[in-house]
């Protein structure tokens, strides 16, 4: 175990080095670029033994990773924003073919207007593509998720590709002190990739075939079961992780001061830290505030969310995305979880940070005050009654 001062991108690259992927397909896009640069340096200096493929587009990046996974190799790629959208066809393809590829996505706004800064519209627009989706809060978690991602994705019960999301710039480019496990520890935790879903010269296979109406639906059902099975596998994996590396994670969600909370903010990614600080401050003022950080958007933590929100007076969902013409995607998912569980609590949606716009501690305090008083069901942070967003 060593300590280094690393950005989120670099920490993720260290985690990938420890996971020993055999094929890496790389195409640059800000703010993901650094992760593929670091990996190329690792291949160059021999500290990572992998085929490093300079593909000519994101569509090819994922297509190449699918080919490698079909060949039985552990595959990695990374992207962001327009790149993620450009490879959308292949996202569904990888999931339907049950290829447990790991991809890092640096969450970034999508055009138009062009914008390179962080919001989560890129990955949240792909929730239905059949990938596991995690959202890291800091560089240490990014590294740890890189290592855990393969174990979760490759588990025979799961066999589903894994998208690890890091908030663009706020996490990808911010430096923190990070603990890096040794290769011995990592190898003990993550065995080499073994799969039946691969090219086999002893008993040749036809893969990625067509299936008509009668059978297609069975394959889709199995795909759904695979991603659901990840919930349990994530918990098991984190337990094993804690035993070897001594760091504990909390499954699909992470709760902060929620036991007696009357008001809870549900959010995801790197903004959670500021939410927790604000909750502390509000508690000093006598407001019983708490925070739920969603760590995984797929599988979605239906039960965890319903359990934690069932006794509050009101909750807010704070998210950096919008499903145009409706509301924030996370809000839709949270409300659905509560409805299924028969929980009837007032919930409000706060959309902010689009195109990288800052969300301040004051904004978060205001969220808590306004949900205590009651407000619009969908609110846009920093845009008053009028369109003053400039």
């Amino acid at each position: 175990m060593s300590r280094k001062f690393l950005s989120g991108n670099e920490a993720f690259a260290e985690g990938i080095r420890l996971a020993r992927p055999q094929v890496i397909s790389a195409y640059p896009i800000t703010p993901q670029t650094i992760v593929v640069e670091r990996l190329s340096e690792m291949v160059e200096d021999g500290s990572l033994s992998a085929e490093y493929v300079h593909v000519e587009s994101e569509h090819s990046a994922l297509s190449c990773a699918i080919g490698a996974s079909a060949a039985g190799a552990r595959a990695f790629t990374a992207t962001s924003s327009q790149g993620l959208l450009y490879m959308a066809e292949c996202l569904y393809y990888a999931a339907g073919g049950r290829f447990p590829i790991v991809m890092m996505n640096a969450d970034r706004s999508t055009a138009l207007p062009w914008n390179i800064y962080g919001d989560q519209r890129d990955s949240l627009s792909q929730l239905d593509s059949g990938w596991i989706q995690s959202y890291a809060e800091n560089a240490q978690e990014a590294l740890d998720l890189a290592l855990m991602s393969y174990k979760i994705a490759e588990d025979k019960r799961v066999q589903t590709p894994y998208m690890a999301n890091l908030d663009g710039f706020v996490l990808t480019h911010t430096y923190e002190t990070v603990e890096i496990p040794t290769h011995e520890q990592a190898d003990k935790f993550l065995p080499p990739y073994e799969t039946d879903n691969r090219i086999d010269f002893e008993s040749p296979k036809n893969m990625a075939f067509s299936a008509g109406p009668d059978t297609n639906y069975i394959f889709k059902y199995k795909e759904h079961k695979g991603i659901l099975a990840a919930a349990e596998v994530i918990t098991e994996t984190e337990k094993e992780f804690a035993e070897i590396f001594g760091r504990h994670y909390t499954g699909l969600t992470e709760n902060y001061r929620t036991e007696d909370a009357e008001y809870i903010i549900v959010t995801l990614g790197s903004i959670a830290g500021l939410c927790r600080e604000t909750a502390d401050k509000l508690r000093e003022q006598g407001v019983k505030a708490g925070v739920v950080r969603i760590r995984y958007m797929r599988p979605f933590p239906n039960k965890e969310i319903a359990d934690v929100l069932k006794n509050v007076k009101a909750y807010a969902v704070l998210e950096k995305d919008i499903s145009f013409g409706n509301e924030g995607t996370v809000f839709t998912n949270v409300n659905s979880a509560l409805k299924k569980a028969g929980v009837d609590v007032k919930g409000y949606n706060f959309i902010g940070g689009l195109g990288g716009r800052n969300i301040s501690a004051g904004d978060i305090e205001n969220i808590c005050t306004s949900i205590a008083k009651g407000t619009e069901s969908v609110n846009f942070i920093g845009i008053g009654g009028e369109d003053n967003g400039k």
Partner: protein, 297 residues
């Protein structure tokens, strides 16, 4: 040389029980190539007729390892398969793609260009039936001038496809690829020889084989091989190779057969006027001037 390769070809079938139309030139090309490449070929097929007729679960028709790629992703999936198998320690295999003209010259050209640029050790075979057949005979970048398709109707305004065929063979060669070749299922021994040669060359190999589609071309199912021969004999297609920086012509017709006769046999060219046929003949002659100047014999 050519005959010897044809004689030694395996009797084993690797593409069997598929649902292609009777007389399909594409399936003939796939079948012959796999006989040459054998059980250690891993084939990648994008959306298109050959994947549509061969992979309908549970009726799976390849007896070698085979996989469908996305429409645009033939070459990049080949790259991944090749890299993945190599990373796992395999040496004795061939990653081969079979893509239609649309999958090659239009949507998949970026991935193909990328793979050639990296010089990935793959064979890419384009079976050229001169249109998007699987979606119902629409124009592709390789549909020849004058042809009627469902998106280039032959009326008084449009009169069929008004653009010439993209030259994929020379586009591939312009990357300075280790090996590129043209072929026709009408000259099967030549095609087989080229597949065999490609399998022995390191780096990216591109073979462009004319593979008539009776359904789309409007010819009888038993006319495929003849019409694929005739397109070469009348000079509208040529058999050539690119290797070590130079072009070589493999077959020089002593005298061209009649272009009009070739065209008039096919439903897709029925509407052509004498003037259209003159344009086609003139462009053929221009092409052959170029071939004589730039290709070795």
């Amino acid at each position: 040389m050519a005959n010897k390769a044809a004689e030694s070809i395996s009797r084993e079938e690797f593409f069997y029980g598929h649902k292609a139309c009777a007389g399909c030139g594409g399936s003939l090309a796939v079948r012959a190539a796999l006989k040459v490449l054998g059980p250690n070929a891993v084939s990648v097929l994008p959306a298109g007729c050959m994947s549509a007729v061969g992979f309908n679960f549970p009726q799976l028709c390849f007896s070698n390892n085979s996989i469908i790629s996305t429409f645009a992703g033939t070459a990049s999936m080949l790259t991944g398969v090749e890299a993945g198998l190599r990373a796992r320690g395999y040496k004795d295999f061939t990653a081969v793609g079979f893509a239609g003209d649309g999958g090659t010259a239009d949507i998949g050209i970026q991935a193909l260009s990328g793979a050639i640029d990296r010089n990935d050790n793959i064979i890419y075979i384009c079976y050229d039936n001169e249109a998007y057949m699987n979606t119902g005979i629409q124009k592709s970048g390789l549909t020849p001038f004058g042809a009627k398709t469902t998106t280039t109707p032959a009326g008084s305004n449009i009169h069929g496809n008004i653009r010439p065929k993209k030259n994929m063979f020379e586009i591939a060669a312009a990357h300075d690829i280790p090996y590129a070749a043209t072929a026709s299922v009408g000259y099967l021994a030549d095609f087989i020889k080229k597949v065999q040669k490609a399998s022995q060359i390191q780096g990216t190999k591109y073979i462009h084989v004319i593979a008539p589609c009776p359904t789309g071309w409007g010819v009888a199912p038993d006319a495929t091989v003849d019409i694929a021969k005739e397109v070469v004999d009348c000079g509208l297609w040529y058999l050539a190779e690119y290797e070590n920086g130079s072009f070589k012509l493999n077959h020089k017709p002593k005298e061209f057969t009649d272009v009009a006769a070739y065209l008039k046999k096919q439903g897709r060219f029925k509407h052509l006027t004498d003037e259209d046929i003159q344009i086609i003949t003139a462009s053929r002659d221009k092409k052959w001037e170029f071939i004589h100047k730039n290709f070795e014999l």
